[in-house]
């Protein structure tokens, strides 16, 4: 069953120009943060969105749960078109779609204690009538995120908690409304490495227990490799390669993916991996290069790459790649 499906999703941000400039040029400039992305996430799947910073991963994920208004495209959640329904109607879907933020230091209101942080969404969605009623639910959810004894955390304020504990509170408050689709926006990247694995495994346990579907955003491919079922590699607002994680990692087709995978640290097995180091920085999302958007940095670029933009094609079962070289290799 498909949990959530997006088709040709675009998020363009208008760029503010000076008043004088707007007088002589009528053309609006846009930053193409997400530039036509389509994929499906199956129920109870961990779908990983990977790419370097600034490539539009977070924007895409936020657009999927309507925290950012997409410019065009469709998002279907369990068959319902989320973008076409009204604001009030969408409110009932809010609790089903939740997000876990990267920074546990700014994702909790510093003036609210743990109990109120978790109780507030319950109250707003009429799960409980008043704050004292939520005690059992909150105790239970705090135990699920391994903050025990739960009662001792009720009155604590965010500044009294460690980074890992804050992230657990943050996860608890996201899960308390019983959502089934979670956007995890680099949930462990700001945590200390010892805490990181604990939180990660806790998230995996919670997924099994509560039958969650994760959209996991990360820039850490080894992490993606470890936990995800499928992976999509994003570059400058587009997906360049997508497929089952094991296959993409073991048999990458797009030069960008090859470069990313070549630099994953691995325990030495005697085999020397050749590291591919890309030159330069990703271009600005306002001036996307013509042709394949990766060609200025691509080490295998051909003439055609400068002229035409490759479309994403099936490489083999479930494995999709957007690269000209692939079709050229196949033709002969």
């Amino acid at each position: 069953m498909v949990k959530i499906e997006i088709k040709n999703l675009k998020v363009w941000f208008p760029v503010r120009t000076s008043f004088l400039k707007s007088l002589y040029s009528k053309k609006h400039q846009y930053s193409h943060a997400v530039d036509g992305v389509s994929f499906k996430i199956k129920e109870e799947e961990i779908f990983c969105l990977a790419g370097e910073s600034g490539c539009g991963k977070t924007t895409l994920a936020k657009a999927m749960i309507r925290l950012i208004k997409p410019t065009s495209g469709t998002v279907r959640y369990s068959g319902v078109d989320l973008l076409s329904i009204g604001k009030n109607e969408f409110r009932s879907y809010r609790r089903k779609l939740q997000i876990i933020y990267q920074d546990p230091y700014s994702s909790l209101n510093p003036k609210k204690n743990v109990f109120n942080t978790i109780a507030e969404p319950l109250k707003v969605h009429n799960f409980i009538k008043n704050f004292s009623e939520g005690k059992d639910i909150i105790t239970q959810i705090l135990e699920e995120v391994e903050l025990t004894p739960a009662e001792s955390f009720f009155g604590k304020y965010p500044h009294e908690l460690s980074g890992g504990q804050r992230q657990r509170v943050s996860i608890a408050s996201s899960l308390v409304l019983n959502p089934d689709f979670i956007v995890a926006d680099e949930p462990v990247s700001m945590l200390d490495s010892s805490v990181r694995t604990e939180v990660l495994y806790m998230m995996l346990r919670l997924k099994k227990k509560r039958k969650l579907t994760y959209l996991f955003i990360t820039h850490d491919l080894s992490l993606a490799w470890l936990i995800s079922d499928r992976i999509a590699i994003m570059y400058l607002g587009k997906i360049v390669e997508m497929g089952p994680t094991d296959e993409v990692v073991s048999n990458p087709q797009h030069p960008y993916t090859k470069a990313l995978i070549s630099v994953i640290p691995r325990p030495t097995s005697g085999v020397k991996h050749k590291k591919i180091i890309l030159k330069g920085n990703p271009p600005d999302s306002m001036n996307i290069p013509a042709g394949c958007r990766f060609h200025p940095r691509c080490f295998e670029a051909k003439d055609i790459c400068k002229r035409a933009e490759p479309s994403i094609v099936k490489f083999n079962k479930n494995h999709y790649v957007a690269c000209h070289l692939l079709s050229q290799k196949r033709k002969p």
């Binding site: 925290l67 809010r94 997000i99 994702s107 209101n109 507030e120 969404p121 707003v124 969605h125 409304l177």
Partner: protein, 276 residues
């Protein structure tokens, strides 16, 4: 909600002064023996004596009684006018900081207008228009000081609304009202509070100015009115220093006390200003 207030020694001095004045304002008759309204034409411009601690004025009223009873008007102006301006300023600041676009622009240009107009002349014109009563003065002062609060609240709101716990609130489906009241306001409040105390000094100062220039409420005893009468009755010519100095000193001490508390609070909420 918890406030962690740590006042330094200056703040404590300021607070003590204000508490003493609040006591004067609440129970003035415990301290003075003379009715401040009681006139005695046979005892005008008397110097300080045991009977009249600070002498008498041009109609024979006891100046010490006037001083103590005047505390009430000054503090009332301070608290109520600041209450009005802080409320109005916070609402304008929160709305214009939270909503981007047209609402924000309109509210901020309106605020700029109020910031740009010289306050004193406008205040005099308004008081002259609406009539010289203490309540009118309070309202006029309150409505003139809000623009400063609005600016501060707006800038703070702009920085808080970008934090992820605000966006998270939206992900939970909170209404804008809930986000503003329960998530942004508590984080802005300490700053507003510190600023309000600083504003009290200016509110009192404006009341004194308006009264001194002859637009005060003649039925109310206040320090500004005392100064006004002293000026009108040419107390300087009679060398009646006991008439001019006490209200002046009282005003300076009060404004200073509020400034001390305000700065101390500012330091306590703003760790960068704290001395180590």
């Amino acid at each position: 909600m918890k406030f962690r207030i740590r006042l330094n020694i200056k703040g404590i001095i300021g607070l003590t002064i204000i508490l003493v004045e609040v006591f004067f304002a609440c129970f003035p008759s415990l301290i003075v023996f003379h009715n401040p309204h009681e006139m005695n034409y046979s005892a005008i411009f008397l110097g300080p004596s045991r009977e009249h601690l600070l002498g008498t004025d041009e109609v024979g009223r006891d100046i010490f009684s006037l001083l103590i009873f005047g505390t009430r008007a000054s503090l009332m102006v301070g608290f109520i006018a600041v209450g009005i301006s802080t409320t109005v300023g916070s609402i304008v600041g929160l709305l214009s900081g939270y909503y981007k676009g047209i609402i924000s622009e309109v509210l901020m240009r309106f605020t700029d207008l109020f910031l740009a107009i010289p306050r004193l002349p406008l205040m005099l014109v308004l008081v002259a228009l609406v009539g010289q009563s203490i309540w009118n003065i309070i309202i006029v002062i309150g409505l003139l000081l809000w623009s400063q609060v609005a600016r501060i609240v707006r800038s703070q709101t702009l920085s808080i609304r970008e934090k992820s716990f605000i966006e998270r609130g939206k992900a939970f489906g909170y209404s804008d009202f809930r986000i503003i009241i329960f998530h942004i306001l508590p984080n802005v409040l300490p700053l507003v509070f510190a600023n309000a105390i600083l504003l009290m000094g200016s509110a009192i100062y404006y009341e004194v100015t308006v009264s001194f220039l002859g637009l005060g409420d003649p039925t109310h005893i206040s320090w500004g009115m005392s100064l006004h009468y002293a000026f009108e009755s040419s107390a300087i010519l009679y060398r009646a220093y006991w008439y001019i100095i006490p209200p002046g000193v009282a005003i300076v001490i009060t404004v200073l006390a509020f400034t001390l508390i305000g700065n101390a609070l500012d330091e306590s909420f703003n760790p960068k200003l704290r001395e180590r």
